[in-house]
Symmetry: C2
Subunit: 283 residues, 2 copies
């Protein structure tokens, strides 16, 4: 693990690292914000998953999360959104919604994607293991959140790994990738045409499936913010499908439609404080 950057921020440290990932078989960057409280003990940790085209840096620079993270004493880890590097396959036309910058937080089964595109393993196992081994964080107090494609990642990985992630929230998530153009393109490309296999990476399908499980495996609460002036709302995001799935499964969802807000980091910055306090209260 190599440290690439360090900046003091709100009394804590904003750090960036590179490491060789075994699950993705490439070098990966990630960023970590350590609040001042991490100087003297272990702190809870949140994993932020970004959306299409992002790297680990967008959230770090634009969300303004460090202020409240410093107040609450919470670390924030921000990974990249796909495997990276010269040997990693990319969309032949360089599409923004498939390939590099668009890993969709799943384990690909189709060649050539199955060689490197294993973001599900990276986020659910490799990265938390590395973080817990390297930084003063308490892995028993971990949460996950994200934006758009990263909201999809947070919901699906969070619901499937309740031992690992104790709190889940999202901004403008893709809640049903089996039912929108971004998702259908990604799932067919990475997983093939058998739509049954897609359900394992669809938050609505996964939440409906917890209906039959013991209470311990149902999320205690979900917080989702969605701007009603978001250009992707009707075609790609469809929060009403998440609402239906949560009602069916008995999962308490707080879905807040935010009037006038769009899909940008200005929207995220406006409500990031609420999400940090939501997670801290559960951790």
């Amino acid at each position: 693990m190599e440290q690439l950057a360090e900046n003091k921020c709100f009394g804590g440290r904003q750090l960036q690292f590179s490491h060789d990932s075994w699950s993705l078989k490439c070098a990966m960057h990630f960023s970590v914000y350590l609040p001042p409280q991490a100087e003297t003990g272990k702190v809870p940790v949140l994993y932020w998953l970004s959306g299409l085209t992002c790297t680990d840096e967008n959230f770090v620079q634009k969300a303004g999360a460090q202020r409240v993270a410093a107040e609450l004493g919470v670390a924030i880890v921000t990974p990249d959104t796909s495997p990276r590097g010269e040997g990693v396959a990319d969309d032949p036309e360089g599409a923004y919604d498939f390939g590099l910058g668009a890993g969709f937080y799943l384990n690909a089964t189709q060649a050539p994607w199955n060689e490197h595109y294993r973001m599900y393993d990276y986020i659910s196992s490799e990265l938390p293991d590395l973080i817990e081994a390297s930084f003063p964080v308490d892995g028993q107090r971990a949460g996950i959140f994200g934006h758009s494609m990263g909201g999809h990642g947070a919901l699906t990985i969070g619901v499937k790994n309740p031992q690992r992630f104790k709190s889940i929230s999202a901004f403008a998530p893709i809640v049903a990738p089996t039912q929108c153009p971004w998702g259908e393109k990604a799932l067919s490309g990475y997983l093939g045409e058998d739509r049954e296999l897609w359900k394992d990476y669809d938050a609505c399908e996964l939440i409906r499936s917890v209906e039959s499980k013991p209470e311990a495996f149902k999320p205690e609460a979900l917080l989702v913010d969605q701007g009603d002036a978001d250009n992707f709302l009707a075609e790609q995001l469809k929060p009403e499908l998440l609402q239906q799935a949560c009602e069916q499964a008995g999962v308490p969802l707080t879905l807040r439609m935010q009037p006038g807000y769009d899909h940008s980091y200005f929207f995220i910055a406006s409500f990031i404080e609420d999400h940090l306090r939501f997670h801290a209260a559960q951790l």
Copy 2:
């Protein structure tokens, strides 16, 4: 004036515009944050001047100022850092500290720079006139602040225009461009080799000159934050020279050396709230 972007942010509006500047003889971008209070009446306005290489967007995306601006009901205008466009002269070697992105907030006298590089006129006259004519802001309650080269701009333009700017602050400003490499390069290039002419754009020289003026022409307060881990501190920034000048002239300076902070926007974000409250209290 053409609107390029609008994003809702903390209940207000983050806007970007393009306009044809008469003082710079080129098309210029600027950004404006209008707080929610601007929907129902005129609000105070702050002008933020950015540092070398920046455009109007860096502060907007990275400083996290909108939250407190929305709370206090203050508009923030962020101009670009130099004239722009194909017809505008640039450093022949594309240096980051001269030419495009490095206008140093002065009126150049040397060819070819004197054709477009008149950022002093733009910031002290043209832009505030345009803003007051176009947005619900109260020009009698205007302040100015900035970072690095923009801290130099805020101090020099603020001190010279007390009727226009009622409050002044800076992050890691170049306080004495006549005495540091960045400043000597810029002032000799834009103004020629007569060092007497440089004094008109040196904050320390200007502050010393207010000693002989009536109280009304002395700044009532100056707030400067400076990271002590800033790589440019000793060679370029030299805050001790500002402290000496203010003591000599009887100008009350609050100079805060911030331990461990560097020259980045992570430093600015950490203390922007204090600056916004400093300005709001005076306006």
